[in-house]
Amino acid sequence: MMQQEYKQLDMRYEEAELRSKRKNQSWIDRTWTFFSSVKVGLWLIGLIIIASGVGTIFPQEMYIPQAIPPEEFYGKEYGTAGDMYYALGFHNLFESWWYIGLITLLLLSIIIVSIDRFFPLYRALKKQPVIQSDRFMGGQRFGAEATGTVNQIDAIEPLLKKKGYKIRRQDGALLAEKQRFGRWGPYINHIGLVLFFGGAMLRIVPGMHEDELLWIREGETLPVEATDNEYYLENNAFNIEFYDPAKEDEKFSEALKRAGGSVPKNYDTQMTLYKKDGMTDDFKPKLEKIKTGETAVNQPFEFGNYQVFQEQYAADPEFKTMSFNIENQKTGKVVDTIKVDLRNPQETYPLKDGYEVELKDFLPDFVVKDGKPTTNSSRPVNPAFVFTIKSPEHPEGERSLIGIKLNVGGDENQYKMGFAGTELSNISGVRIKKDLTLPFLFAGGMIFMFGLLLGMYWPHRRLWLKETNGQINIAGFTNKNALGLQKEANLALTEVGLPSLEDRQKLREEGESK
């Protein structure tokens, strides 16, 4: 029995007419064809892979130390290669127009390729006939031929039904099909990807995304700009705890020794949230307490659409207040004590018995530059003061410069300022975030995974049987897992006395290699 050889068909799109495969194309068609080419998509993926890899050779701009300007950092740290990296813009690769451009092109390609193929494929599968031509059946990867009767086809129907196939019959011929939905898998996961990236792009829509880093001292209440100053946050206390090799964490002692420094165990900020409710008479915001709570790493504090993340903390705490004793150096008698609030220092401090201290100058971050005392920053990390003590004996005042382990010009004076304690305050760096795009990203991710699993694990399988003049023609199709189809179909075929499916692709390849 000679059987005719047919060319194997490309069944990916059921031979449907794709717009991208049309001849005589207009420029719209040509653009369409360009983006609907899988080849173009794969080139884009390849380029993104290479660019991303190059972007990790040296750290990105956002991860380098802030003290050094980037144009100097790369050359200093990595030599000529670093200079080139910076000059070519790789230091900020992932926000560069061309990287974002590549991703946009890939998205466009995904969208167009999906539209180009989905609708023709959907129509082709929807209106597929039960009886297919010999060319079609012979062109399938799996097939077999034998002499037989329609009775055998009738007999196989319940067997295939039991395997979950949906059966259609026409003039004795049979089409068994299952898991057609598996064919939609790739399109579903592409939709998921588009939703994900589309969601990420929604950030540029005003109001969708707010991001603010707020440095907030203990005891301080600050407006949250990300909420249009509608909400205020108060830092009630900042706690930090380190692993202690001497105590309960003895098993970690070796690792802690290797780490060299102290390893934080936990840090969190106790905070109170206020809502602004108009202004008071002296033009200060009237604050209504909403709630208290804490933010710790991995456990953000939440209100409305906002989350407050514990992000950083200042390595060295600031001085909050400093107290001084006004002492008579001769008798050692303390006249009085003052407390200077470093965030809000006063000009004069009236004392008992007509004494008075004047704060002539306050240097929060004291340094000596060119022989002159000055301040490095406005943060009270190394405060120094120029005081004048007015006393009955010295009504014009005695002047001295007082700082930490510093007393200039005070030795000869009758009265001196002596340290009488300080209060420190930690500074917590919290990030306030609102991101309404997250649900889109989450949905996109889930749809992507769903489509991926659908396409990977639910193969679309079909079996055609038709009888003509005592000849039975069998054809089989699956888009995944060829062995699975053969196993399933052969069991049913042999039970009704029909031959097993042949893998014609394999036969053809073997024929070619001989």
Partner: protein, 388 residues
């Protein structure tokens, strides 16, 4: 005996069991085709070894008080374990002994490599204290472990399909792969050797930012920092500019030396032929179609798991811990590259008909990307994920 020392004994036991299992796989493949008795013994030993390693994992978990995947030692060990699991799953489906003979040694190599890192338990920094540590890291490692099976079968495919008597690109590149594996072995052997010899040195130097830093060498010093001052041990043969980490360069050099010596020994003294060629009798026992199909299925199973663990769970956790789901950290970027690479593979295979050799090369390349992310990104590039 406390939990932690019990744990390391269990790991040692599993290592030895894997080793014996590999031996039995070798016996099984030297016989006739099909599942022989030794094949069954080898498989049972591999399961036993896996059970012992699970024992290591859970006793260490109990001993440390947190899931042991938080530093390079723990993660790499776990990755090796997931490779074994991936192999066991695939073996369960295909009962192929040849695969065992390649997959088990690669897993052994990974576990041995892990032992080069400090193995004491470390406390968790606040960012790592989350249930997502368990979920994200274990899922990602499982995905990578299953993907690694496709490396084993891809390699087998290439060796089987290559005619070593003729000059070809495949022949050359296969030797490059074999040489890279030799360098990993070289690194481990040299590391253990110098550890036993106690060749420690400390060199002090002044870094760019003016701070005085120290390099602690465990291997004899070939490359030292510029104007280094020897605190203890030996001095450097050559000095390097300080934007290169002289200590890391030194380790890489020694690994290369170890790799070259090992490779030369195997190639010219012991086997007297190309390393890949000497594996050909083994590779011939797996038919090309099966090797190709296993590669594809390993990726079909491994990739969704990897995407879920290495990207989706990762993003969820990053959002909670760092307030952003994506930050272009090198580890994140390389996880994305891993995904894109396998996506590239799938499209090439399904859409452009890349099967056989080309597809097998992509399987090998994918594993190279995974290893790059594990080794180089942690040790060289360093970012938020360099906890070790």
């Amino acid at each position: 005996m406390n939990l932690l020392s019990l744990s390391s004994n269990l790991l040692l036991a599993s290592f030895i069991l894997y080793l014996i299992s590999t031996g039995f796989f070798a016996v099984a493949t030297s016989g006739k085709k099909g599942p022989t008795r030794s094949g069954k013994i080898a498989f049972s030993l591999a399961i036993l070894g896996f059970a012992a390693q699970l024992g290591y994992f859970f006793t260490r978990w109990a001993g440390a008080g947190h899931v042991p995947v938080s530093n390079l030692y723990e993660y790499t060990t776990f990755f090796g374990m997931m490779m074994v699991l991936g192999f066991l799953i695939v073996y369960g489906i295909y009962r192929n002994n040849v695969l065992g003979l390649v997959a088990m040694p690669v897993a052994l190599l990974v576990i041995a490599y892990a032992s080069m890192f400090p193995d004491e338990v470390q406390p968790l920094i606040p960012a790592l204290q989350s249930v997502w540590l368990k979920i994200h890291v274990t899922t990602a490692a499982l995905g990578e472990g299953i993907l690694a099976v496709s490396f084993a079968t891809g390699l087998l495919y290439l060796i089987h399909a290559t005619d070593f008597s003729k000059e070809s690109k495949t022949r050359t590149w296969l030797e490059v792969v074999m040489f890279s594996l030799a360098c990993v072995v070289g690194y481990i052997v040299v590391g253990l050797l110098f550890n036993a010899l106690g060749t420690n040195s400390t060199i002090e130097y002044v870094a760019k930012n003016g701070a005085t830093m120290q390099h602690e060498y465990t291997m004899p010093v070939l490359t030292g920092p510029e104007n280094g001052k020897i605190i203890s041990g030996s001095g450097a043969v050559a000095e390097l500019p300080n934007f290169l980490n002289a200590n890391k360069v030194n380790t890489v050099l020694w690994s290369l030396i170890g790799g070259v010596v090992l490779y030369a020994l195997l190639r010219f003294v012991i086997l007297r032929k190309r390393l890949a060629e000497s594996l050909k009798p083994i590779a011939r026992k797996i038919d090309l179609e099966t090797a190709d199909e296993i590669s594809y299925r390993a990726i079909a199973i491994g990739l969704p798991i990897f995407i879920l663990g290495g990207l989706i769970f990762a993003m969820i956790w990053a959002q909670m811990a760092w307030s952003r789901y994506w930050g272009w950290d090198p580890k994140e970027v390389w996880a994305l590259i891993t995904m894109l690479f396998y996506v590239f593979y799938l499209h090439m295979r399904i859409q452009r008909g890349w099967i056989g050799k080309k597809s097998a090369w992509l399987c090998v390349g994918g594993f190279a990307v995974i290893m790059f992310n594990l080794v180089f990104v942690n040790l060289v590039v360093a970012g938020l994920h360099s906890y070790a």
